[in-house]
């Protein structure tokens, strides 16, 4: 087994418990609500289970830097192997959830619609405007951006330099949300990145930012110390 593949395998060993718990809980909720819909007891619209289960991507971007990092290094991986292996794992899971959400969205549109209607981010953000491939590209770039962002936030955990990033981030969010002209600019920026009708430029821009976020994450990973 190659070293990078071993990191990916190790990450799966850590993540499968979270995946099983999340999928189990969401599946139970989905089937109960579907049965209520079939029995005509509750036909209220709901958030798509596919979207809810995608929360897993947030979990992995926290668990891998915080929990997995020191353990895989203890098993003999270098920081470089950990980081590149982790990026491969992120890409795998982001792609898997993008595909899953497309399938789930199509099921909701064609099968479950008989009994229930759902709020699905693919429809809300207009990611279905270029068909299945468009759905995949929009989701993949957006999810990977979010994963790369949280990976950076958790990779610089406990780093003195990161304190600056946290403060900047907190200040930027609160200031941009409290001033209406800035708020509009932020929403415009987010729209350009993630909901832009011109798919190619927005995807290229998003991937450039993803690259920057991963590079910053690598910078902090090389500075992380493992005491135990």
């Amino acid at each position: 087994m190659s070293r990078l593949l071993s990191v990916v395998k190790g990450s799966y060993g850590v993540l499968r418990v979270y995946l099983m718990i999340l999928v189990g809980l969401v599946a139970i909720a989905f089937f109960i609500n579907l049965l209520l819909g079939i029995g005509n007891i509750n036909r209220n619209s709901e958030v798509s289970s596919g979207n809810i289960v995608t929360i897993f991507l947030l979990i992995i971007s926290g668990v891998l830097p915080l929990y997995f990092f020191k353990r895989i290094i203890n098993l003999g991986a270098s920081r470089k192997e950990y980081y590149f292996g982790t990026i491969i794992a992120y890409i795998f899971w982001v792609a898997a959830f993008s595909v899953f959400n497309i399938i789930w969205f199509l099921l909701e549109q064609n099968v479950f619609i008989e009994y229930k209607s759902y709020f699905n981010i693919i429809e809300i953000f207009g990611w279905d405007r270029y068909g299945v491939i468009g759905m995949f590209i929009y989701q993949f770039s957006t999810y990977l951006f979010i994963v790369a962002f949280f990976n950076l936030v958790f990779s610089c955990f406990r780093d003195r330099l990161a304190l600056g990033i946290y403060i900047l981030l907190a200040a930027a969010i609160s200031v941009s949300m409290s001033i209406s002209s800035l708020r509009e600019a932020v929403f415009k920026g987010v729209a350009i990145l993630f909901f832009n009708p011109t798919i190619l430029p927005s995807t290229i821009l998003t991937f450039a930012l993803i690259g920057l976020l991963f590079m910053a994450g690598w910078f902090f990973t090389t500075r992380r110390e493992i005491y135990k």
Binding site: S6, G10, R71, R79, E81
Partner: protein, 292 residues
């Protein structure tokens, strides 16, 4: 013999506490070393720096001639930590499979033999293991990796005396078949006497002594006899501890005694016995702390 590890002027502080103070350390290939020191002496900090787990404030580490930096892959190294933090929900066998990928000399047959020898169920999840079993996992990784530089930090914690002896004998047997450098940090000083070839003694972040075990055995003695005779005998010698009970005096020496001096000791009716490493360590470190 070549050098596998070279540390030059290593220093590390945590706030105002100096954990490692200007340490120089050189380990030769194919040798078993013991690193001994009290709790808080700086053993784990030093090992963490050597293995790139933490970073020195200044100084350099070279492994197999390659300078270690923050993103460097250290291929020739296997480090088994004192408290082995691994994946709780992963089976022992899966952990070994993951570990095997990172060590180019990994021997699967040996790893499987070790699982049997330590009666460890490979299907058990790591969180189901006792402290002793966790140590076994670390030992299996350390030994089966056959890394040119293998570092064990307190590898026998949680093991009973039978299992500790088993580990020492397996390690020695494997070392004789596959020589490599093993550095073992421990506080069980007497137990490692029969295993290690060279020792480093560390205290308050400084290396106080490094010595061949053979040379150590030829330099560490108790001299016992009547007070006057012992006093005459130890004059000009490196005495690390002295006790008097009535007219009887016991002196702990760290110095060579030649044939002529041996003959002289017999004439003075003094008895000369070898000093166990643990006693030497206690006198040596404690004595220095009293002086400081």
């Amino acid at each position: 013999m070549g050098t596998i590890l070279k540390c030059t002027n290593l220093a590390k502080s945590y706030g105002t506490t100096e954990a490692v103070k200007n340490i120089d350390m050189t380990l030769e290939e194919n040798t078993i070393y013991g690193l001994i020191g009290r709790n808080g002496a700086g053993k784990t900090s030093l090992l963490n720096i050597i293995t790139g787990s933490i970073f020195q404030d200044y100084g350099e580490v070279e492994i197999a001639g390659k300078k270690i930096n923050r993103s460097e892959d250290i291929e020739d190294l296997c480090y088994v930590k004192e408290k082995i933090l691994l994946f709780n929900h992963v089976k022992v066998m899966e952990l070994l499979e993951i570990a095997s990928a990172f060590h180019k000399n990994w021997d699967w047959d040996f790893a499987k033999d070790l699982l049997k020898m330590f009666e460890l169920n490979p299907e058990k999840k790591f969180r189901q293991l006792s402290r002793g079993m966790e140590s076994h996992v670390g030992i299996i990784i350390g030994l089966a990796s056959r890394a040119p530089l293998t570092i064990f930090d307190e590898p026998v914690l949680g093991l009973d005396v039978i299992m500790r002896e088993k580990f020492y004998s397996i390690m020695l047997e494997d070392y004789s078949n596959y020589p490599r450098t093993i550095l073992m940090s421990t506080h069980l000083v007497n137990e490692i006497t029969k295993i290690v070839e060279k020792i480093y003694i560390i205290d308050s972040g400084k290396i106080l002594l490094h010595e061949d075990m053979d040379s150590f055995r030829n330099k560490s003695y108790y001299v016992t006899g009547n007070r006057k005779g012992v006093e005459n005998f130890i004059e000009g010698k490196n005495v690390i501890q002295c006790e008097t009970q009535g007219n009887i005096m016991i002196a702990a020496l760290f110095d060579t005694i030649n044939d002529k001096e041996m003959h002289n000791a017999r004439r003075l009716d003094l008895s000369i016995d070898g000093m166990p490493l643990q006693k030497f360590f206690t006198y040596f470190v404690d004595g220095r702390n009293h002086i400081e």
